[in-house]
């Protein structure tokens, strides 16, 4: 049930630490600033709610000229403001003006999406595996036990697998990188040896080799487009299933001299996707987009320790500037591109970038770590050292407010959504909750052993040296399997700095910042395949 007016010890502590001249009214916390032009003005219509005016007023700098972009932006703010300022009669606000997470209805909605879908879902016929992942992942974050789905998921996944490797959107559909990624993550979510055994790893490996392109990237399916999703999905699949990195001779990228493996050139491909704005586009030369930023960072975090790989291939200060620009006030949520509207799903795509960026900044080996690229310009850039991110780089409170006030479907349908006025769906339910999870937790990454990992990297490229695993203490029995980034050891904690505006029962489960599923699911699957060398 809702607890109201309970003083939590850390909140009190934080208040005392940050605000020595005890303010007369309960003040909103802002890190490191003693004078902040921010007041918590008691809401006129809903007296007693403590909502910073940042979330109830229009931003201070606005232009006069009206264009299509500013029109839809103003309309969106108009839709969000009543919900954010405690004025909606449909919402039950706590003292911070934040409604509870309606677990029960969301859970019901998600179970429904896993069941029989009506005929109008025919347009989703090529993306059924996504429904599996979205629902199972969202249910897991909501604390539901998804193991009862083991058998039915295994059967469903089998029906989507092709003999030639990978999973399609349904039976006898071409295998696709995205649907394969979704199936593999779903299998990891429900867990169980028999479930893992569904995957034909040898065929999967061959199939991945056939998608590898000479320029370093991956096609999403045979004859399909090449984009950064392909690279991220491939890295996740290779890492979770511990596939060998060697290339099959049939691969387009195969050179015959062993100088190229499945992940050669992936980092450079990602680098070519960074745009002048600092964000990442889906393929080189397009516009920076939030979803691809996550794919890029996730992919780099698997190639090597994020403290090294992100530095090596990206202009980190520009990327951070761009990511940070995605958060808007008063909405509090993220947009996917410059001058586009907030959308709940970017809570994950953009919000999920911050743990990786923070890991990169906080890594001691980070800024001055040996660059992996041979490019002197990059080496020079990465020799500049950036300060660690001690405080959150984005406004967690804003994101949580947007999610809980604006993204929950208010009808009996349940589920989470893009923004007020939109229908909830499985996709948004998953990524809004993922975003909520990253706003409610913080991740700390163990330091890599610089020398060992360097050797290991080199060795892997040559296909000689057995991989050494950081943290997990055992030697891999498969000489050429898996990625060093996959061995990175992450630790998760609830985020406790500052004021907690949501009830403690509304904290969802943490998910791994790279794989976007719980850490134990990642560990269990990787452990299972560690014990199975070769195919």
């Amino acid at each position: 049930m809702r607890q109201k007016g309970v003083a939590f010890p850390w909140r009190k502590m934080a208040t005392q630490q940050r605000r020595p001249p005890a303010p007369p009214s309960p003040a909103h916390l802002s890190p490191d600033s003693e004078t902040v032009d921010e007041e918590i003005i008691p809401n006129r219509r809903q007296p007693g709610l403590m909502i910073p005016d940042l979330f109830t007023q229009l931003p201070p700098v606005r232009d006069v000229l009206v264009t299509e972009t500013s029109q839809v932006q103003d309309e969106t703010v108009e839709l969000c403001l009543p919900l954010l300022s405690g004025e909606s009669e449909e919402l039950q606000y706590n003292e911070h003006g934040v409604p509870p997470l309606d677990r029960e209805r969301h859970v019901k909605f998600l179970h429904q999406c896993l069941g029989q879908l009506p005929g109008r879902f025919v347009a989703a016929d090529a993306s059924r595996p996504w429904f599996l992942y979205w629902c199972l992942s969202a249910l897991t974050m909501l604390g539901e036990d998804v193991t009862p789905y083991r058998q039915s998921l295994a059967a469903t996944a089998r029906s989507m697998q092709n003999d030639t490797g990978g999973f399609g959107g349904g039976g006898r559909q071409l295998s696709h990188m995205a649907t394969t990624y979704a199936v593999v993550l779903s299998l990891a979510l429900v867990g169980g040896d028999e479930t893992y055994e569904v995957v034909d790893r040898k065929a999967m490996w061959r199939w991945l080799c056939s998608l590898k392109q000479p320029d370093g990237g991956f096609q999403v399916c045979l004859g399909g487009e090449e984009d950064i999703r392909g690279a991220y999905c491939a890295a996740v699949i290779i890492s979770l299933l511990r596939l060998p990195l060697e290339l099959a001779p049939e691969s387009l990228a195969y050179t015959g001299d062993g100088s190229v493996n499945l992940l050669t050139g992936v980092g450079d491909y990602v680098r070519r996707c960074q745009t002048f704005e600092g964000g990442i586009s889906g393929q080189p030369n397009a516009e920076a987009h939030g979803a691809y930023a996550f794919c890029a960072l996730g992919c780099l975090a698997l190639l090597d320790h994020p403290g090294r790989s992100i530095w090596s291939y990206l202009d980190v200060p520009r990327l951070i500037a761009w990511l940070s620009s995605r958060q808007y006030a008063p909405e509090g949520g993220f947009s996917g591109r410059t001058n586009k509207l907030v959308d709940g799903c970017y809570s994950h795509w953009v919000g999920g970038c911050f743990p990786l960026i923070e890991a990169c900044l906080n890594s001691t080996s980070g800024g001055c770590g040996a660059p992996a690229a041979d490019d002197p310009a990059i080496a020079a850039a990465s020799s500049k050292r950036l300060p660690p991110a001690d405080e959150s780089l984005f406004n967690r409170e804003g994101l949580i407010r947007y999610i809980l006030c604006c993204c929950q479907d208010q009808t009996k349908r349940g589920g989470l959504r893009d923004k007020p006025g939109k229908m909830s769906d499985a996709y948004h339910s998953c990524y809004v909750l993922s975003g909520l999870s990253s706003a409610q937790h913080q991740w700390v990454l163990d330091e890599p052993e610089p020398e060992a990992t360097q050797q290991q990297l080199k060795g892997q490229a040559e296909g000689l040296v057995p991989e050494k695993t950081a943290g997990e203490g055992t030697l891999s029995s498969s000489p050429l399997s898996s990625l060093p980034g996959g061995e990175a050891v992450w630790a998760v904690l609830p985020y406790l700095d500052g004021l907690r505006i949501f009830d403690n029962t509304d904290r969802v489960r943490p998910i791994h910042p790279v794989y976007a599923i719980p850490q134990q699911s990642v560990r269990a699957m990787r452990e299972y395949f560690r014990a199975r060398p070769g195919f």
């Binding site: 600033s33 921010e38 940042l54 931003p59 201070p60 700098v61 606005r62 000229l65 264009t67 299509e68 972009t69 500013s70 999406c113 896993l114 029989q116 879908l117 005929g119 879902f121 347009a123 016929d125 090529a126 993306s127 059924r128 429904f131 629902c135 789905y149 058998q151 998921l153 059967a155 469903t156 029906s159 399609g168 959107g169 349904g170 039976g171 006898r172 559909q173 696709h176 399916c221 487009e225 745009t275 002048f276 704005e277 586009s281 889906g282 393929q283 397009a286 516009e287 987009h289 202009d315 200060p317 951070i320 500037a321 958060q327 006030a329 410059t338 001058n339 300060p387 780089l393 406004n395």
Partner: protein
């Protein structure tokens, strides 16, 4: 339950079994003071349409309504006898609709009916029947022209001449009969496939060659009749199963495993089309009919990547005209703005088409113009469609349109239209700075490229400044400006004065300080840092976090710490 007969239905049965004369009408030969009204008898010649017939039947079955109508619709204008006759006709027709009730003979029953029908007692009812008998009034009344409204006659059938309508009806009956026979055949074949036995003889079900031949003939006949009746379009179910063209294909039906998750209850026509698709894909068939099948499926589900790739394979295998396929694709794209498989398909078409026209400048330029015109059209519906813009940048690269004045003009027009359209700004950056005429390959987007001519950099700086002046808080313009400065290897400080114009009295107190653009202040902070003025940089960042852009407080604080970090 008594069978209910509605006037409309009686007309329906009349239409299905046409009889020369409506049987329910009789002329009135009575003692009535007024001569019985005779409805205008329409000419029963060849020109009569089905609807005319319905109207005349309706009128003929309501002789007294016509009389009433002649008198301006007022019952009081009729003689008492006619009034009673009119009333009696109404009551009797209502009673006729309830045959079970009307046939009650007991007094109590008759009384109930009378109350029900006209509020009178059994005596009144007796009177009613007397008048009805005397005047031979029709008991069943034909439906009125509302038949058209209810869609009884579909596809303009109501305007057909009676003779044609009847002929058409007969054809429909024939098709139905053939469909039943065909269904039986398909059931038998299915039982044969599953190895079932005949129920009576317990012998294995075997479909004989003769039966197959008959079915083939049947399908041809059905297809011909259907084309005649309905033109090109066909009914929903069994579109392919009864189409002789697909006779030789054994559909591959997939059954979902038990308890399959997120299983879709496919509409019958989609499921059928997919079953045929699997079959032809498996057989690697490339043909006109496969192309039509992909179109059929794409219409139902444009997000089906497998079908799109198979379509492309067909187009290439059959060496079809790429411009024709592009024209077809344009229609599909306009109907499915958010779909992105369309754009990969287009990409594949261009990859295939380009080598054939690469050496022909005029075809090349007209192709580029046609593409641009279509892209402009689709972007006018959805100005920031990511997939359209990605395709556009691909096209520019493929056809080398970097220096194309029309392309640059089109983008400028879009920025003029909505100066906040970041997709258009991004495309401009690509056009200018990825132009192989002066860009060096291999540089990252956020790196300086020494080969870009100074004039180009100057021009782009001016362009960005001009647009920023219109809307100073537009991040697109500032990102562009900063991007140009970096790419051109200029110091950020070269725009200090410009950026400073949007920030007044920084740190001089609440009254004096005014910021017209947080992005200007952000850039100023960088400029000050570049110049080594940490204090001013710190002040700028502090004010951003405290007042002007509070949502990004965490970021501005981190930037402040960057000032301290060793360079």
């Amino acid at each position: 339950m008594p069978s209910k007969r509605k006037p409309g239905k009686s007309e329906a049965s009349g239409a299905s079994k046409p009889s020369p004369q409506p049987t329910t009408t009789t002329t009135i030969t009575t003692t009535s003071a007024t001569p019985p009204p005779i409805p205008p008898t329409p000419p029963s010649d060849d020109t009569q349409t089905v609807l005319d017939r319905a109207k005349s039947r309706s009128a003929a079955s309501r002789p007294l309504d016509a009389l009433l109508h002649q008198n301006g619709g007022a019952l009081s204008a009729l003689s008492r006898q006619d009034q009673f006759a009119w009333l009696a006709a109404r009551i009797a027709s209502r009673l006729a609709k309830r045959p079970a009730v009307a046939s009650l003979t007991t007094t109590a029953g008759a009384a109930a009916v009378a109350r029900l029908s006209c509020g009178g007692g059994p005596k009144t009812l007796k009177e009613v029947w007397k008048v009805v008998n005397e005047l031979s009034l029709p008991l069943r009344v034909a439906g009125t022209t509302c038949a058209r409204k209810r869609g009884y006659y579909r596809n303009g059938e109501g305007d057909l001449r009676v003779k044609d309508f009847e002929a058409r009806w007969e054809k429909k009956v024939v098709v139905s009969c053939l469909a039943v026979e065909s269904r039986c055949f398909r059931d038998r074949r299915e039982r044969e496939r599953r190895g079932h036995k005949e129920e009576k003889t317990r012998e294995q079900v075997i479909v004989t060659e003769q039966e197959v031949l008959e079915e083939t003939r049947r399908r041809k006949e059905m297809a011909a009749l259907r084309r005649e009746l309905y033109g090109g379009g066909v009914g929903k179910d069994g579109r392919l199963a009864t189409d002789p063209e697909w006779d030789d294909v054994e559909p591959v039906v997939l059954e979902e495993p038990e308890g399959a998750l997120a299983a879709i209850a496919y509409p019958a026509d989609y499921a059928e089309a997919m079953a045929y698709l699997r079959a032809v894909m498996q057989a690697k068939e490339y043909s006109e009919r496969c192309l039509r099948l992909t179109e059929h499926i794409i219409n139902m589900n444009p997000a089906h990547y497998t079908v799109w790739l198979y379509r492309a394979a067909n187009v290439f295998a059959l060496k079809l005209s790429i411009p024709d396929e592009v024209a077809w694709l344009n229609r599909v794209a306009l109907a499915n703005l958010k779909n992105y498989q369309i754009w990969h398909h287009r990409h594949l078409l261009v990859e295939n088409y380009f080598p054939t026209i690469a050496s022909d400048p005029s075809t090349l330029s007209s192709f580029a113009a046609a593409e641009r015109s279509f892209l402009q059209q689709i972007l006018s519906h959805d100005t920031k469609n990511y997939h359209v813009w990605s395709y556009r940048s691909y096209l520019v690269g493929k056809l080398n349109l970097f220096g194309d004045a029309d392309e640059l003009a089109a983008i400028e027009a879009m920025i003029d239209d909505d100066v906040r359209n970041n997709s258009a700004w991004s495309h401009r950056f690509f056009l200018v700075f990825s132009n192989p005429a002066h860009a060096s390959p291999g540089f990252a987007a956020t790196e300086a490229d020494p080969k870009v001519p100074a004039a180009v950099v100057d021009r782009e700086i001016e362009y960005a400044k001009e647009k920023i002046r219109l809307v100073p808080q537009n991040q697109s313009g500032w990102n562009y400006l900063r991007g140009v400065l970096v790419k051109g290897g200029r110091k950020l400080g070269s725009v200090e004065e410009f950026a400073g114009g949007f920030v007044k009295g920084l740190g001089e107190g609440e009254e004096a300080e005014d910021v017209l653009s947080t992005h200007a202040l952000d850039l100023l902070a960088e400029i000050y840092a570049e110049q080594g003025d940490k204090e001013k940089a710190d002040l700028s960042l502090t004010r951003l976090g405290q007042k002007w852009d509070r949502i990004r407080m965490g970021y501005w604080e981190w930037r402040r710490k960057c000032l301290e970090a060793p360079a």
